[in-house]
């Protein structure tokens, strides 16, 4: 039957009627949120890997990795988040004890995690500097070592929380089914640590391979495989879970965001580093450096692509029932 429109005097909407993309955190000034979250993951991964490597045996490379991780959080993540705020002079209101919102708000918690990390991370970096470069007396070494352990543990816990809170903040949103899953923070953390391994490898190349690159590569391989499986599982779950989540997954796989997903994330961010990682196993020492640099660059591109694609396909369910 031929359809006809009875009334044409009113313009129909798609907003609220059909599933629509969120724009606040990816379009316009929203790119600042995307970049902040990328640096959050890179900073978290690099600091954490540096910290764990340094606990195994303090080296120049491990120290520099913690410094770079700390700097990424302090000079990239936090300023980018700050730049995004509509009323910057009010930012202190989001920090405990000026707010009690940390009981429910992941954003307020994130501010708290970041501040604790920045403070304790700075102390840990100073203590490691003293232990590695300054001649201390035996009793001073004992005291500084204990202090470094204490602040190191606190900083380690809080850098993970700093890296993971945005995943929880996003997964809290019930009307965005693609985000509304507990898998999201896990994907972000695993990918962040894998990126951190890559950046620490880069640091180690500069500082003379004093952090065992073979060991970093070994863990990087494992995490890349785990993350590839997690992303696949995430997409399968999205397909099965909800029609709007399925729509988001389709957009990622074959829609307008597909080139970011397939080329930048899957190929450059996961497949190439994984292939290089396996290839370097067969190469002699010293031959793989240029390949490692390629892997590190690809890894970092993958970090940008992961957050971009997830934020981009945040699609709201329609608000109105039984329409659209």
């Amino acid at each position: 039957m031929k359809t006809q429109t009875r009334r044409q005097w009113i313009v129909t909407h798609e907003w609220m009627v059909k599933p629509m993309r969120q724009k606040e955190w990816i379009s316009g000034r929203g790119v600042l949120v995307w970049l902040a979250e990328v640096f959050s993951a890179l900073g978290m991964g690099t600091y954490l890997v540096g910290l764990l490597a340094g606990i195994g045996g303090l080296t120049t490379g491990a120290w520099w990795a913690t410094v770079i991780g700390w700097l990424l959080i302090v000079f990239f993540k936090l300023p980018l988040h700050f730049a995004y705020l509509g009323r910057k002079r009010n930012f202190w209101r989001a920090i405990p004890p000026f707010t009690r919102a940390w009981r429910t708000s992941w954003f307020a918690r994130g501010m708290f995690f970041s501040i604790v990390f920045v403070s304790t991370g700075f102390l840990q970096i100073v203590f490691w500097y003293l232990l590695h470069w300054v001649d201390l007396s035996a009793s001073a070494v004992d005291i500084v070592t204990v202090l470094a352990w204490i602040v190191g543990i606190i900083a380690g816990v809080f850098i993970v929380l700093t890296g993971v809170y945005c995943g929880f903040a996003m997964s809290y949103c019930k009307s965005l089914p693609f985000w509304n899953t507990g898998l999201l923070p896990v994907v972000f953390v695993i990918m962040g640590i894998a990126d951190g391994l890559a950046l620490t490898m880069g640091v180690s190349l500069v500082t003379g391979n004093d952090v065992a690159i073979e060991s970093l590569e070994f863990w990087s391989r494992i995490l890349l495989v785990v993350n590839a499986l997690l992303i696949a599982g995430y997409l399968i779950r999205a397909y099965r879970r909800h029609s709007t989540a399925e729509l988001a997954a389709q957009d990622l796989i074959k829609g307008s965001t597909a080139w970011v997903f397939w080329i930048l994330l899957v190929i450059l961010g996961i497949a190439v580093p994984l292939a290089i990682s396996f290839a370097t196993m067969l190469m002699a020492e010293g031959q793989a450096e240029s390949l490692l640099i390629v892997a590190i660059v690809c890894h970092t591109i993958g970090a940008f692509a992961l957050k971009y694609s997830v934020l981009k396909v945040g699609i709201y369910r329609s608000v109105l029932p039984n329409v659209g």
Binding site: Q4, M20, N90, A101, A169
Partner: protein
């Protein structure tokens, strides 16, 4: 006490008066609307018709926007209305993302270019800056005309019954499609309507318990609801409080202006 609203979809005649009343009541910037009339196509037996949903903030009892706000700028009053303290808001827009009903607007400078960009501000805009200032860089939404409710109740009036204590959109609705009242009072008109016509909430499955209910008995036979005194043209009266000459032109007296507005007029 928990203020709530019932929207009768069968009675709504899509006149947009509620949208206009809200704009006038709160001096909304050009591209900001707290109250919206969402239009969509429906298939009526092979013919495409247009239907509408009037939407505004649902004032959820378990509001995600309140939970996610890092500064407690979004908070819930004892009467259930969710309000935003612009002085506390940092403009992080987490509430805009988390609102399952997409009813929050971030007031960026692009949304507030003035009614006639490039020209002098209108008298309406200038008055709005004094009476109801909007802070660029913060989030906004419908507040059930909380200021009208507070002012009216302080004078012993009853929201939903007395016009001066009732939201502007409800007052203005010529079709009487909007009903306002106390959801905690089992004998209130809103509860009677919800019970009688099986009122439903938007996306109740989110568990947010919205305070805005919809009823649609258009397919079950119409039933007229008794007319109430709390209706008709408050926005004309509101305008008259801004411009005394306008009141004279309209041959009405500005008798219910709120104290601050009355001060402005008489000074």
């Amino acid at each position: 006490m928990r203020w709530g609203m019932v929207i009768n979809l069968a009675k709504c005649m899509r006149c947009h008066a509620c949208v206009a009343a809200c704009r006038i009541e709160h001096f909304l910037p050009l591209h900001v609307t707290w109250m919206k009339l969402i239009a969509y196509e429906v298939d009526e037996g092979g013919a495409v018709d247009v239907s509408t949903y009037p939407v505004r903030c649902n004032q959820c009892a378990d509001a995600p926007c309140v939970h996610v706000c890092p500064t407690e700028a979004s908070h819930q009053r004892d009467d259930g209305i969710v309000v935003i303290d612009a002085n506390k808001c940092i403009g992080c827009r987490y509430c805009v993302i988390a609102c399952p009903y997409q009813n929050r607007t971030f007031l960026s400078i692009d949304l507030n270019p003035g009614y006639f960009p490039g020209y002098e501000k209108t008298a309406f805009e200038k008055k709005g800056e004094e009476l109801y200032p909007h802070t660029v860089g913060t989030t906004e939404k419908c507040n059930f005309c909380a200021e009208r409710i507070d002012d009216g109740m302080s004078r012993g009036l009853v929201p939903g019954i007395d016009r001066d204590a009732t939201p502007a959109c409800v007052n203005t609705c010529q079709a009487r499609a909007l009903t306002f009242g106390d959801l905690d009072d089992p004998d209130s008109e809103v509860n009677a309507l919800i019970r009688k016509y099986k009122g439903f909430q938007l996306r109740a499955e989110y568990g947010t318990d919205p305070s805005v209910y919809y009823i649609d008995y258009s397919h079950g036979g119409r039933s007229n609801i008794a007319p109430r005194t709390a209706q008709t043209g408050s926005h004309i009266q509101h305008l008259s409080s801004i411009d005394r000459d306008a009141a004279r032109r309209l041959h009405i007296e500005p008798k219910s202006a709120r104290p601050k507005e009355a001060e402005e007029v008489t000074s």
